[in-house]
């Protein structure tokens, strides 16, 4: 190995990097063929080579590695681009990508991220689908902090630096919906309304709403294509962008209200822009609710209802916490409408998520969760649950009976990995141990979402109207 290293050291940085890529391809390719195991491990020496000659981390105190010029770096990116484009084997492509860009928790990670950002940005610009697919897997397996950083790079490139290139990003959706799904999750994690800078740029919002209304199933792509038994690392992004988008929809009225307050003191109102946003958020919110309904169909088909928390209670709790803090900051008089809108949305989302089995939470817990929020009629109704009616017939609304007479476009959602019969505990579930209902519901997997609220638990007070 050190022979290779010595040889490489004599070369110019670009050809050395190329050489490492070549070496990587050969060694991993042959390892993949010979080994019968799932994934061949990466040899330490190879990792070192990659770090030294591609990410230029000094390995030897004496030898300062030659850095590439900007042009050389661009050439290297091009080489990588065409390598991934031409590599026909999906598994090799994935392994090489992860060998290059999986974070190792060392000092090479910074340059790794820098290179990755440039590569993905380039792949978007020239529409290299294989790279985008690899990137979407990366976004799934990497800690959300890094994902947010990648999202930040892309947003800087496409929103801030060259806004006119935005349409390129927009068109990516049809090329790699999987990537877009993960990107949405990442950007919702990035823009959390905690400050003006972290308010979603209008163009981004419009693009996302466009994508989602075009085909709401986009939001479920990652979820549906993730095998239930695959273990995801801690701290990775949510499995769907649903919570992130919900956060946007709920916090937007409050945050823009906060922004308006500032704008008013600065002397220029942005009321027109404001209404455009309002409509987009309203549309987005509706889409989120509709996606919950789709999710229910899917989970019912897969017999997952009650076994899998698509919306983790902790995350919801965090959101409720944030909302309640935002509300407190606003003067209730001038912002009453906005607070009510935010709470309406929150209540709707909570109700629909519970009803569709995306949120596994009893109404009792919900009441505790939302106790600090200002009063809202719908929220009250949701917390107390429906007045139990003597069921005339079927009971729960069953959207899945509808025969599909119009087959939509070939759905990337359709083929679920065929291992549902024996259901292992879902990693997401195990990662986030939820409240009490899980055991209760595994015994009644086909029960309607209303079973979450036993009739005995009648809430003492009703909404004020």
């Amino acid at each position: 190995m050190s022979d290779i290293r010595h040889a490489l050291l004599r070369r110019d940085p670009l050809s050395a990097a190329k050489e490492v890529l070549y070496h990587l391809d050969i060694s991993l390719g042959s390892a993949l063929q010979s080994s019968s195991g799932p994934t061949p491990g990466l040899e330490k020496s190879t990792v070192d080579l990659v770090e030294e000659f591609i990410f230029h981390v000094p390995k030897d105190r004496n030898i300062q590695p030659k850095r590439m010029s900007c042009v050389q770096e661009l050439q290297l990116l091009e080489i990588m681009c065409s390598y991934f484009q031409e590599q026909s084997k999906d598994s090799i492509r994935q392994i090489i990508f992860s060998a290059l860009f999986s974070l190792q928790g060392n000092k090479a990670d910074e340059s790794r991220m820098a290179m990755l950002g440039k590569l993905v940005s380039m792949a978007i610009a020239v529409c290299r689908v294989p790279i985008l697919e690899c990137a979407s897997t990366w976004l799934q397996r990497t800690h959300s902090a890094w994902c947010v950083r990648l999202a930040q790079v892309l947003m800087d490139d496409y929103c801030t630096l060259v806004p006119c290139a935005f349409s390129t990003l927009q068109n990516i959706c049809s090329a790699s919906p999987r990537f877009c799904c993960q990107l949405i999750t990442a950007v919702t994690a990035l823009y959390d309304f905690s400050s003006d800078e972290l308010t979603p740029p209008p163009a981004l919002l419009e693009m996302l709403v466009g994508w989602i209304t075009e085909d709401p199933r986009l939001l479920l792509l990652t979820f549906i294509n993730t095998p239930l038994n695959s273990s995801l690392p801690l701290g990775c992004l949510e499995i769907t962008p649903l919570l992130g988008l919900l956060r946007w929809c709920v916090k937007a009225p409050l945050a823009y209200q906060r922004g308006r307050k500032l704008a008013l003191t600065n002397g220029h109102g942005e009321s027109e822009k404001g209404t455009a946003h309002e409509e987009l958020y309203s549309k987005l919110h509706l889409s989120v609710l509709q996606v919950f309904l789709m999710l229910q169909v899917h989970m019912t088909e897969q017999n997952l209802i009650g076994r899998l928390a698509v919306l983790p209670v902790e995350s919801v709790a965090t959101l409720v916490e944030e909302v309640s803090r935002l509300c407190e900051k606003l003067t209730p008089l001038s912002a009453a409408n906005h607070i009510q809108l935010a709470l309406d949305r929150l209540a709707q989302a909570l109700q629909v998520a519970m009803a569709t089995g995306a949120l596994l939470c009893a109404r009792e817990d919900l009441r505790t969760l939302c106790s600090r929020l200002p009063h809202n009629n719908l929220l009250q109704l949701v917390m107390s649950g429906p007045v139990v009616q003597p069921p005339p017939h079927s009971g729960a609304f069953q959207p899945n009976m509808y025969p599909h007479i119009h087959s939509g476009r070939p759905s990337p959602l359709s083929p679920h990995s065929p291992h549902q019969s024996t259901l292992p505990p879902h990693p997401v579930l195990s990662a986030h141990p939820t409240h009490r209902p899980i055991t209760a519901h595994t015994t009644h997997p086909s029960l309607s979402p209303h079973a979450f609220h036993p009739a005995a638990m009648a809430f003492p007070y009703r909404p004020i109207r």
């Binding site: 309002e278 309203s282 509706l286 609304f397």
Partner: protein, 709 residues
């Protein structure tokens, strides 16, 4: 707080939000539905939003939900009624199109169920039928179950409502919509008798539709006429509006073609012999004629089996061709007031041989009369003679006046042949009579017109006269109904035909009476205009014999000359008998002026007769004779060279002569009067001869009729 209160609150919030933020409204309703999945109002509100925004797919999806989950809600039924109503009518408006689109998004079984349910809700037979028809059209498999019963219910409705015409909404639906579904469904297995019944119902509808009197308002027709109609069956279909149907759904395009297609389908279902789907009516007749010839040679049983086929096909050919003939001959009958300019045509004896020598003619006429009379008395035995005679007859048409005369005559011929075929065998005749009585064809004026012409053609003049009488009674009925005064020419048409028949029967007095009745209503035309037409005809007229027929436009221009010829023909025989009849001879001379010098020979013959008689008395001479040649000849007759013929041509002259025979000099005064009259007459030479002869007919009507036996 009740569940209902919750639901009302949720729906109210959503409804408030619809105008300003429809997305939020929907979000509310989605939430509401998850809270109260069995509440109808929430889901109906969702549907309403989508419907009002005309979003087809989502509206359809929600309609499906409420249809499946709340089948008993009256609101759902009202909605379905609205949608199915949109499906039934052919409105092109956007909302109706949307509703149709919504229906299309529903899965087949739901559509089927919806239509059936909607049908149950209809109390009106027509609506119910239209609804069921929607079902049958969409789901051919339901035809087997519902097709025949639907058809029968329509036919029954027709009887119950006691409609006086087969062109009614029920029949239209039955024939144009239900029947094709039944006939074209391979799963259906109908008994032959039912197929015949349906076929006849369809035929009656199509024929009556085509021959229906045009509706009263002339504007529509006027605009339709611009399109330049060639075939009368085509294009006119727009005029008829069927009671209970919209103008658009009243339209039946290409009725004759539809009928023929249906006949082919029924033919194949009934396993008709030799029927391979005829492309035209004449082809159909050919096939049936062959079959008939073949079958009559075979056993009787086989014949009766084919009877239905022969009669059905043949009667359709008959009505098809008769219709086309009549629509050419009497266009106003079908084309309404807009077509008044198109005059009727009338089938008459050809009289262009009237100027030929009387000797030949007389023999001929005697024979003809004998034939005609004999035929009337011994119809059956003499029939063949009549038919044989009839078949050979030639019909003269002025082809500059009727452009499509070959077609018209062809239709006339084919119709006659079909008729003959239908009457060539007792069982065929019986079967055909059944159809006729079921359809009440005796009430069809247009068909009576054809029958009359056919009988005239066959030379059965006595029968023609009774047919003409029937025709005028039908005409009167029709005029009473439509209150039109347009029928003047049509009445003329019948009377002239009567005159022509009376003449052919040798009943000259009756003939004259009838034709003078017509002449009274005519206005004399400019002489030159007529001349030119007469001129054109001349070269052809020579080769023909006396037995021909002529198809003449029923206008003053063409009819007045015919009347004059017919009168001449009536008087000619009488004038040239051995007995002296100066009055008849005088009338002949007056009439010979027309078409001069065609009648020159006859005139000379008359002059000869006068010379032989040595005297001639005709007091109207100077009133009506303006022909210079004639005047010259008469002036000459008085001279010594001319034979000193005693001419008493002035009114009361005879009295004078008798009175003054003894005294010389008075005759001189008479001579002077004659000379003056002659001179005055010469100055009248330029007068319009038609005006003179028209006046002759009107003023001398009584004397003319009286002078015939």
């Amino acid at each position: 707080m009740s569940a209902q209160g919750d639901c009302e609150f949720l729906v109210k919030r959503a409804r408030e939000l619809v105008p300003q933020d429809p997305y939020a409204a929907k979000a509310w309703l989605i939430t509401a539905r998850t809270l109260y999945p069995t509440d109808f109002n929430i889901q109906y509100e969702m549907y309403s939003i989508e419907r009002n925004a005309e979003r087809t797919a989502s509206a359809g999806r929600l309609l499906y939900d409420i249809f499946v989950n709340f089948p008993e809600q009256p609101v759902v039924w009202r909605e379905i009624a609205v949608i199915t109503a949109a499906l039934r009518n052919d409105s092109q408006d956007k909302h109706a199109q949307f509703l149709k689109g919504v229906f299309e998004t529903l899965p087949g079984p739901v559509q089927c169920k919806m239509l059936l349910k909607a049908t149950e809700q209809c109390f009106n037979t027509l609506e119910k039928a239209e609804m069921l028809l929607l079902l049958l059209k969409r789901f051919p498999e339901s035809v087997v179950q519902h097709g025949v019963s639907l058809g029968e219910s329509l036919l029954e409705a027709e009887t119950v409502e006691d409609l006086d015409t087969p062109v009614n909404c029920f029949r239209k639906l039955f024939v144009c919509d239900v029947l094709p579904l039944i006939l074209n469904n391979p799963e259906m297995c109908l008994p032959v008798s039912l197929l015949y019944k349906y076929m006849h119902k369809a035929a009656e509808f199509y024929i009556c539709y085509v021959t229906k009197e045009p509706s009263a308002d002339g504007q529509i027709q006027g605009s339709q006429e611009v399109g330049g109609l060639k075939s009368p069956g085509r294009g006119r279909s727009q005029h008829v509006v069927i009671d209970g149907l919209s103008e658009k759904s009243s339209v039946v395009t290409e009725p004759w073609e539809r009928l023929l297609e249906m006949l082919c389908v029924v033919g194949s279902l009934c396993d008709w012999q030799g029927e391979k789907g005829s492309r035209s009516y004449s082809e159909l007749l050919q096939r049936v004629t062959e079959l008939c010839r073949y079958m009559s040679a075979a056993d009787g049983e086989g014949f009766s089996r084919c009877c239905g086929q022969i009669v059905t096909c043949c009667s359709l050919v008959l009505f098809h061709c008769a219709f086309h003939y009549v629509s050419a001959v009497q266009p106003s009958l079908f084309q309404g007031h807009g077509a008044l300019s198109a005059s009727p045509w009338v089938l008459l004896e050809d009289l262009s041989s009237v100027y030929t020598d009387v000797e030949v003619e007389r023999k001929h006429a005697h024979k003809k009369r004998k034939l005609a009379d004999g035929r009337e008395k011994t119809m059956s035995s003499d029939d063949e003679d009549g038919l044989a005679k009839g078949r050979g007859r030639h019909i003269v048409v002025n082809n500059t006046e009727m452009s499509s005369w070959t077609e018209t005559l062809e239709h006339f011929r084919t119709a006659r042949e079909s008729w003959d075929l239908l009457h060539s065998h007792q069982s065929l005749e019986t079967e055909f009579a059944k159809i006729c009585s079921a359809w009440k064809t005796e009430m069809w004026l247009w068909f009576r017109i054809f029958l009359t012409d056919m009988i005239i053609y066959q030379g059965q003049y006595r029968k023609s006269l009774s047919s003409l009488a029937l025709m005028s009674s039908l005409q009167n009925q029709q005029n009473q109904n439509s209150l039109s005064n347009s029928s003047n020419l049509e009445t003329h048409r019948a009377i002239i035909q009567q005159a022509s028949c009376h003449y052919a029967l040798g009943e000259y007095r009756m003939a004259c009476e009838k034709l003078l009745e017509v002449v009274a209503g005519l206005t004399p035309q400019n002489q030159d205009a007529v001349k030119s037409i007469e001129e054109q005809r001349k070269p052809r007229s020579k080769a023909r014999k006396g037995n021909d027929l002529r198809l003449v436009p029923c206008t003053s221009k063409s009819i007045l000359p015919f009347c004059l010829q017919l009168m001449l023909a009536c008087f000619k025989l009488r004038a040239f008998t051995d007995n002296r009849d100066d009055l008849a001879l005088g009338h002949v001379i007056v009439l010979l002026q027309h078409d001069w010098p065609q009648g020159e020979n006859l005139f000379l013959k008359a002059v000869d007769k006068i010379c032989q008689q040595g005297s001639f008395q005709y007091e109207n001479f100077f009133n009506y004779v303006t022909n210079i040649d004639m005047l010259e000849e008469f002036a000459y007759l008085r001279t010594t060279e001319g034979g000193r013929v005693q001419l008493e041509l002035l009114p009361n002259q005879g009295m004078l002569i008798k009175h003054h025979t003894v005294t010389r000099g008075i005759t001189k005064g008479v001579k002077e009067d004659f000379r003056l009259a002659m001179e005055r007459q010469v100055s009248r030479c330029g007068e319009n001869l038609f005006t003179v002869l028209h006046r002759f007919c009107i003023n001398e009507k009584i004397i003319l009729i009286q002078s015939l036996p």
